[in-house]
Symmetry: C3
């Protein structure tokens, strides 16, 4: 970690390098890490995933979103949170999500800039509200801003929908008769579950993300992988649609729940492990429930299942855990 402390010293002395440092940390905070190298590996993963899916705008959007949000955060008093990248990660995800589901027109780039600025305001707002219960804003600012933009895109001709789900009433999924575990791609699905945190399916991208986690916290990488695997198992037993399971769509929120409950806001222990296990399993139910709720309005859940499940399990944390990190 000598290189790290050396970099920190250099970054502190130069306003441009400091800005780059904080932007990288902003990207790393999507998975709760305060580490510029993690951010670099995450950005690399996003570029790999975005270009593989033929959506370069997603890669550039992630950089633009993180930078704009980080720049917006400069004007705030809370210097410590800013340096840790805590004003940047929601902008990063706004920049990833908008061009994934909407056409990358000039208006959309303006929307990414506006959305990233507003994500900072939402972050302060939610942090202010939640500090009463000592819980973090998580990715709620990203989800709320992006949902607003997606929903607005139905009303505005200047925002062109490419891949948002068509609004429809929920239908009951009928169980298939074949063997439960037939057709499940366990390993690919687990990797895709991790990379779907950034809305793409890529094994290489996922390996880069795990590497990024590992350089900052080995436990975080372990919980991410196991959380994804467990979520796929639960979704399989509950007989969710196979294509969704295999694309990691029942796992990405569970990945974040697992890191948050298992390693970020608690020290690993048996009690924590069981609590995280229940949290991850319940996240899969919340994922299914939100899929149903959002069907009539034609927007994806994004990471809201993670946010809701983790808030639910983090507020009682101090009543449930014997010794607990704040």
């Amino acid at each position: 970690m000598q290189a790290a402390s050396k970099w920190s010293k250099i970054a502190d002395g130069n306003v441009v390098l400091e800005f780059i440092d904080v932007t990288l940390r902003g990207c790393a905070q999507v998975m709760f890490q305060n580490n510029p190298l993690t951010g670099l590996l995450f950005f690399a993963a996003i570029f790999v995933g975005a270009f593989a899916e033929g959506l370069p705008a997603v890669a550039f959007g992630s950089v633009l979103g993180t930078a704009v949000a980080t720049f917006t955060g400069i004007h705030l008093k809370d210097r410590k949170s800013w340096k840790a990248g805590l004003y940047g990660y929601n902008g990063c995800l706004v920049g990833v999500a908008l061009p994934t589901f909407l056409e990358a027109t000039p208006i959309l780039w303006l929307c990414i800039i506006l959305g990233s600025v507003v994500s900072v305001i939402v972050t302060i707002c939610i942090a202010d509200i939640l500090k009463t219960w000592k819980v973090a804003a998580l990715t709620a600012p990203f989800v709320l801003v992006t949902w607003t933009m997606f929903l607005a895109s139905y009303a505005f001709g200047g925002m062109n929908i490419t891949t948002l789900p068509v609004p429809n009433l929920p239908h009951d999924l009928i169980a298939h008769n074949s063997n439960l575990f037939d057709g499940i791609h366990w390993l690919d699905g687990t990797f895709y579950g991790i990379s779907e945190v950034f809305l793409f399916s890529s094994v290489i991208g996922s390996v880069l993300l795990l590497a990024g986690l590992a350089v900052s916290s080995l436990w975080a990488a372990v919980f991410a992988f196991c959380g994804s695997l467990l979520a796929i198992l639960v979704a399989t037993v509950l007989q969710a649609e196979h294509s969704n399971i295999n694309n990691g769509l029942y796992a990405f929120s569970a990945v974040l729940t697992a890191i948050a409950l298992g390693s970020t806001f608690n020290k690993p222990s048996w009690r924590v492990l069981i609590y995280t296990l229940i949290g991850v399993i319940f996240t899969v139910f919340v994922q299914g429930a939100l899929n149903t709720v959002l069907a009539p309005v034609g927007i994806p859940t994004l990471t809201m299942p993670f946010v809701l499940a983790s808030w639910l399990f983090l507020v009682p944390n101090k009543d449930v855990m014997p010794a607990h990190r704040q």
Copy 2:
């Protein structure tokens, strides 16, 4: 009440009897009573109702849910709330509601267990949030957990819907020309309104519930009956669908609002009576509104109209009531 204090002494001395005592109190807390005899009568009512409707799983589900939630609560620090059954009642309702609307498969029994465990976590979470405004969690944990499971059942082939409403867009109910009061079954409707708190329509079951209330609080029984009657009158004047009125579906939330506002969180007085009256009438509107809101996603309101109306009237309680019990 000598028998009661004798039982308390016996129950305190034996870990199994204590667990049974708290489980019974958990059932009684569905209607705000801290009394094991009330719980026994409530369980009897549930068994009568469940078997009458040909759904024995509902009866066993209620016992399983209350027991699992009570067992989960053992591990918490808040011993006093646990002894009063306050960690059990939401599990009781989860155990009643899931087999009422979904097929009783092995996966569903696992869902009842998971739902009951999570209901305790939601209870702590909501209690923690609401203590800032000195308001109770009411049955919100039950509703949120059960809604999650119901909504998820649309996405999971392993959870089979039996009687959930089919998702559809709301239609304007056109007024019928006949006499307003024709075809309303006043007495049966009032009784069904009380038993529908536990999701079944049974006069005998309802009488058992009233008896259970009366042994603990006569006022609670009076408010339950009058609340149900008033709700049916309001729904009739507003010209709701007759079959829904007659099945008590506009009354069960009003019953709980009446008990909560009239007897649990206030001492009866003229001012309280008027406040409760307005609260009960407004609950009927909230019931109609939630019916409309939930139509596109195909889930029942459960007791959410009661929760929303009662929170709305309980938060300002101290500003409105001269002397008030906390």
Copy 3:
């Protein structure tokens, strides 16, 4: 302002005049002004607009709603808020909104009375909740009560829908090819945006509203006008439906956001101006988003876009603004 202080003295000495004074202030508080003359001009505007649209019930509803809510507020301890008209404005809007979208039957007049009473309870409830974060209830009580009534009207044959939107699934609005600015009525649209705060489109009504604002606060009038104009510009660039833009339907929430952020809760400054600018632009997105969300349940957004956007920008106010008025 000698006449004003003279009137205040007279009003204080007579219980009937005091009630009229507070009722007028209640109407003025719809746009954050504590001034009986403003209220008088606002009522005049409502009468002009209501009669022009052939809906006299709207005019009488506004008077009834404000009076009932003001009368309900008499019974509360918080005398200061009552005298400022802060318990009246939501009742005013309830009285305007119900007869705008529902048939003015005897049951509807009872609903206006009930809704106005309940709006006071919701006001206390929300004020109690939000005081933790030092934010006002704004028009949330009006919106929540009116939404409840509108939604309930689908379930109740006794409440007849006249102009509520038919519930339907959202459709993607396709961009028109013509010149962006063709067919936009800039001046009329800006005026309509102001009068649509009270749910009608009238230039004369709008001028009366601006006059009412100006006699109390010139800044408020300026922010109202500029907020409306800016919102129409943003909606035009985003290519919203032209008829909606021209009727001021993308502007009325922005008008309130502009007054609230620019003049009521902050002193005008460059920083405040930029913050208000972002707030107004984002309000247009929230308006589009809520139009989509509410489509399946067939209710209008009312002023909820203003409420959500303003809460979002007001909670962080103290973290963002150097010196700020509370």
